[in-house]
């Protein structure tokens, strides 16, 4: 059996940042386990720019953003194993993993950082009727084919869902010579960033149809076309609006789900809204010594925020290992009145620093206010010109404010129009 102070599950932006921070906080014995052949995670296939504007103050592509952290991992001599699949994290923080050189690894960790990222919702999650032909795949799968394997998966493309990956792939397929006929979105608004609608669709004259979905998939061996239809306010297809579109490829960009099989099996409490673990401000889960950060905790829009969150988790794990973590005296947080969720779900009043609460709203608001209440009393009100489900918001609870709260208290965030 191997022994490490901290084992990090996942070598993407979250895992790398957490490992780097833990090392800087004085923990030397760290092992990062990565399933893919290289460190970097999903950034390796996200070749478009837009990463790092908040954190580095410059606009980098995904591989460039990842490379800055891969360099630091090397400089700090942080151990890692690629091509390594973690099978289980136990209740006493033992990690079981497997690869083709070491075979089965049994690792006793003092702390574990979960940084497995998320997965795309596949066709099976949509129950779209039709045949099981080739040519139907998630936008991220197509992204890997094109950007890593140098392989174009199709020529005439329809994209279902207007999440950022779908929008980015609309442009990417166009640049590689494909014709993107339509992006359709079930909701009356896009879940992607506005700038991606402008620079990925509008720039190339690709139509975006809102309140519209694919109701049938046609084709024997290969996809031959899809039937799309408008939907009503209950997201039901409207009879008479059906339209057949000839295409050989259907890309799905219909949401991301944190990949929490390991977390669930370990018996760690999950938040039903985020599908990630319930955590405190140091990103510690309900299992002592197990931390979670990045998209495995909740889906972020910007990797910059993943990096910052993962620094918190790395620092939290280091303090846990070094025995310097503050005593726990928790309040809980709750999203109400238009706020779908808040991370972290609980805050330690002894945190000793300002705590940022990240949250998402359920629909688009214009000129609304974000209201923070403690045990029913308003403590903060901030006007926001625009709030949208696709854009994560945050408010800061000042350390001085935390001092005034009592254990067991409740902080609620809501939207008021």
């Amino acid at each position: 059996m191997l022994n490490y102070d901290i084992v990090v599950v996942g070598g993407g932006p979250a895992g790398m940042a957490a490992a780097i921070k833990a090392k800087e906080c004085g923990v030397d014995s760290i092992l990062v386990l990565e399933r893919a052949e290289t460190l970097g995670g999903i950034l390796e296939q996200c070749i478009h720019t837009g990463f790092g504007l908040h954190y580095f103050g410059e606009e980098l592509s995904g591989p460039e953003y990842a490379d800055r952290f891969i360099q630091q991992i090397a400089e700090k001599n942080i151990e890692y194993k690629t091509d390594t699949m973690v099978l289980e994290v136990t209740a006493d923080n033992k990690v079981y993993a497997v690869n083709s050189t070491d075979g089965l690894l049994e690792i006793q960790a003092k702390a574990v950082i979960l940084a497995m990222g998320c997965r795309e919702r596949p066709r099976g999650a949509l129950n779209t009727p039709g045949t099981r032909c080739a040519g139907v795949m998630t936008a991220g799968t197509a992204q890997k084919y094109v950007n890593i394997d140098g392989y174009m998966p199709g020529k005439k493309v329809v994209i279902l869902g207007s999440g950022d990956i779908g929008l980015i792939m609309a442009r990417r397929m166009t640049l590689e010579g494909a014709e993107v006929k339509l992006v359709c979105e079930l909701m009356p608004y896009s879940s992607g960033l506005t700038r991606n609608i402008v620079q990925c669709l509008d720039d190339y004259g690709i139509p975006l149809e809102l309140s519209c979905t694919v109701i049938r998939i046609h084709g024997n061996e290969r996809l031959e076309g899809v039937t799309v239809a408008k939907v009503d306010e209950n997201r039901r297809p409207i009879k008479g609006t059906e339209k057949f579109i000839e295409c050989d490829t259907l890309l799905l960009s219909v949401g991301l789900i944190p990949e929490n099989e390991l977390t669930r099996e370990a018996g760690i409490a999950l938040d039903p809204v985020t599908s990630g673990a319930v955590v405190d401000e140091s990103r510690q889960t309900t299992q002592p010594g197990v931390f979670a950060c990045g998209n495995v905790l909740h889906v972020h829009d910007l990797v910059d925020y993943v990096t910052l969150e993962s620094y918190s988790a790395g620092e939290g794990a280091a303090k846990y290992v070094l025995g310097t973590a503050p005593a726990k005296k928790y309040i809980t947080t709750k999203g109400v009145g238009g706020v779908r969720y808040i991370v972290p779900q609980k805050v330690n009043l002894n945190a000793g620093e300002d705590v940022k609460l990240y949250f998402r709203v359920g629909r688009v608001y214009k000129g609304a206010s974000v209201v923070v209440k403690y045990n029913g009393y308003e403590i903060m009100r901030r006007k926001r010109p625009r709030l949208a489900p696709g854009e994560m918001e945050n408010v800061v609870l000042k350390e001085s404010e935390l001092q005034k709260f009592a254990e067991g208290g409740l902080v609620e965030i809501s939207v008021e129009e």
Binding site: I47, H48, S61, E64, D149, G150, L193, R195, D203
Partner: protein, 121 residues
């Protein structure tokens, strides 16, 4: 004349209003929340530009392609043409991040540089 545009300089996506006179000169820029937004709005109304990210084929690397970007913004109208041109070139491995894969693409004065490593495989 006023033009309403959405800034793509960063993920904020600010809505910007630009006032232009009859000869197309910018009179005022409002709605932006940073300097980059002001600059973006001015060029967008006079000489729109975009950066290009794509891939270039690699011979003998760990992957068949390496990602790349334009070192500077290119004229918006030339993006598709530049992407086409880059589909027709092939580089020999190894490629290092920052390597120039194509200099002065289509006479624009802009270089195309690698955005990842591609060691020999």
């Amino acid at each position: 004349m006023t033009k309403n545009i959405i800034c793509v300089a960063c993920p904020m996506g600010c809505g910007i209003t630009v006032e232009l006179n009859d000869s197309g000169e910018v009179l005022s820029v409002t709605g932006n929340t940073c300097k980059r937004g002001d600059a973006y709005a001015r060029t967008e109304c006079t000489n729109p530009v975009r950066s290009l990210t794509t891939t270039v084929k690699v011979d003998g690397g760990i992957h068949p392609v390496v990602p790349c970007k334009s070192a500077d913004a290119l004229p918006k109208g030339k993006i598709i043409e530049c992407a086409q041109a880059l589909r027709n070139i092939e580089i020999k491995a190894p490629v290092r991040i920052g390597d120039v894969l194509c200099s002065n693409i289509l006479g624009t004065g802009v270089d195309i540089v690698a955005t990842n490593h591609c060691p020999e495989g």
